[in-house]
Amino acid sequence: MIMLAFSLISFLIMLILGIGMYVRFSAASRQEIVQSTQKLMEQTGENLEDYLVGMRQISDAVYYNVIKENDFSGQDKEIQQGMNLLYEANRDNLRSIAVYNNYGSLMAAEPVASQKEDPNVTRQDWYEQAVGEMENMHFSTPHIQNLFDDEAFRYYWVISLSRVVELTDHGVPQFGVLLVDMDYSSISRMMKQINASNNGQYYYLCDSNGEIIYHTRQIQISHGIFDENSKNAAAYKDGVYEEVFEGERRKVIVNTISYTGWKLVGVIPYSVFTHGMFNIRYFIVLLMLLMAMMLGVVNRIVSVRISRPILKLNASVMEYEAGEQPEIYIGGSMEIRHLGDSIQRSYEQIDLLMRKIVMEQNERRKSELDALQSQINPHFLYNALDSITWMIEGERSEEAVFMISQLAKLFRISLAKGRTVITVKEELQHAQSYMNIQKVRYKNLFSVEFDVEPEICSCCMVKLVLQPLLENAINYGVNGMEDCGKIRVTGRQEEGTIILSVTDNGIGMSEEEVRFLLTDSNRIPKHGSGVGLVNVNNRIQILFGKEYGLRIASEPDEGTTVSIHVPLVPYTEENRKSLEKGYRFGVDTKETTEEEQQKK
């Protein structure tokens, strides 16, 4: 997320920067193109002006040095010579020089050429213009020269400079028209030079009415293939204009040629600016992409440096929450180290508190167990002593001695050096001693049978759990039966559970009675101390958990089977201690081990 946010912000900044750069750069480039176009046009304008001034000077020279100085009737040779001199000196730019009288008759021409049969000079535009405004020189638009016969079958494209002149013929002054036909190719060449680039930008020349003098697409315009906004351009003053012509946005630069009123027009379509910027645009995009890549890497490094300690800390906290006990990650920047340290200390404190609570709970359970244990001993002792008293009263000393010896065994196991957990074997021995005592007491009114798998003898068992069951079997099962009472003690293991069962063939119980037997602690027993089954069940469950304890099965008139279910825990000193401390086997073992390790 950090990286994404960083990248997004960086990219946006870059985008804005890129667009800004592009806009700035393109504006500067546009300005540059316009300025260079203006410069070029100024230079071309000057060249054109020089050319036209040259033509005017030729016209002046012909007029003042040749025509005015000579009479056409007698000095035609001098006139021809003077005109020839001027023509030869400027032949690259000139097509012809000719003088016509006021009737349109040819007075002199250079180069000497035969005139067409009837060129109708007075009706030609240049003649009409000259006569129309006699005080001025007139530049025509380009046209085909229709005056002289050319046997090479060529028709020359010229621009005519015409003026009214005063000529003398046979001593009579009269007005005539001097025509200097400039070769259009000279102007065309100048214009072609500046139109050499093929990028869409072009220059054209028009007169003050917008009539095209030179255009790169002159014929296309006359054929209607292309159109030009020359009429509007002719109305513009010198400067830079923006216009939309035939749907195309373009810049138009206008430069007026002195004296003629011709307009040199530069046209820069906006596509030229775009075309020029095309590579720049690519370059900027490429630069942006590369910068985005680089920023991505930098952002990744920065974000990883920031987020990795947080993620590691989070992972260790999650592991902790999942039950494992990893070291809380402490690393990265000072703040994150501080955070990790705080979490670590918090967890340590929580652990400490938890252990304390567990220990307190164990202590409480042990206290409860001890209290229950202490309930049994007086109960049994009372019964046994009662039997011995009865024997001594009946002078059955041997039996009393047996009883006392059995009682001694019983108490030895009962005491068991203060242990709560003993082996199954010891418990069975205790049960046998008890049954021996009871058999004497009940004058063998019942028989007892022990059938226990030897494998379970070395497993853990809660002390004094069989005895209450046997006592109940005697009291509620076989007591009162004539010589046919049978109590069977069996022991087996089944799927990791030790099952010790006491079965009698007594009167049995109803299902309802069985149901309440372990749940109704307020039930008043008919015989004994009344702490038997509930006591045993509680003790087992305190040590081994709620899933273990007593199971009772009984059928009225058939008998009762009470089974002890405890987990199969091999009897070792370690297991015994663990169980006695309240750690349940298989569940709390690890905690026990760690606690012991800590103690160590």
């Binding site: 085909i144 050319d150 079958f153 028709y155 093929n198 002159q218 014929i219 296309q220 991505g296």
Partner: protein, 324 residues
Amino acid sequence: MKDSKKMFILMEGILAALVILLVMVMFWGRNGEEREKVSVIIQNADDSQWSAFKYGLRMAAQDQDIEMFVVSTGKVLTAEEEKEVIEREMKQGADAVIVHLIPGDGTESMLKRLKKRIPVMLIESSVSTGGASAHFPVTKTDQYAMGAALADALLQDYSGKLEGKKLGILSESGESWKVSQREKGLSEALGEQDVKVLWSVGSRYMEEEEAFVEALPKVDLVIALDDHSLTLAGKVAAANNLHGALVYGIGHSTEAVYYLDTDIVRCLVVPDMFELGYQSLTELSKSLRSFFYAPQEQTVPYMILRREELFSKENQEILYTMNQ
């Protein structure tokens, strides 16, 4: 963390792909600046009759940003020679060709082969001598209409009365389809006029062609159906060897205009050769720039020139193109 790494790799991958794409586009753009090449093969390419046509081609090449090259050919070009020139141009990398076709054996099959490889545009020509060129795009003038326009001019000059006039028709023998169309237009427009066509001859670059024309029987009117014939008739008439016959014709060279200007030719029908060149190349360029575009047949206009208005503004433009 893994997701973020994946996203990072994905993002960098996309950016790298874009960079590669952009570099390729830039590289391609730089290489793509090479212009298409179009070769133009016309007979007697240096002759002034093609000036306006070549100017039209040049203007179209400039407008379309195409490299155009007019192949220099001899005065007389046979169909076989023309085939060789086309093959040579293709080998030299022409992207398209504009051909003024000279009919001959195997021309159609050669063109079919050619068309499969590069776009072809014919000008003023037909594949078969019969004029059926349905398979090949042609830029042309309406030959029939020009013939008819010539007849109209003739009728106009004689107020529709040509009874008893003797006509001689001069034409290029190698341009049988074009000439036949013009002749058809002429004769159909003359209709039921009682004119007698005394002779109708082909004059294609034969030796002593002027003498040949001079030796033809005297007629009142000579109708020249193509530029070469018209300039030939003009030349003979200028030398006063056409027995006083008035010349009418179709032409597009400055010589033809000159004979009109000097009143040797009475009326000149001029096909717009500038337009012919311009449109043929423009149409071909569309086909070069679009794979799916097939060049279409183009018909260009023609003008009727009289001496009186030869130097009108419009006609000056035609003269300008002829002079290029």
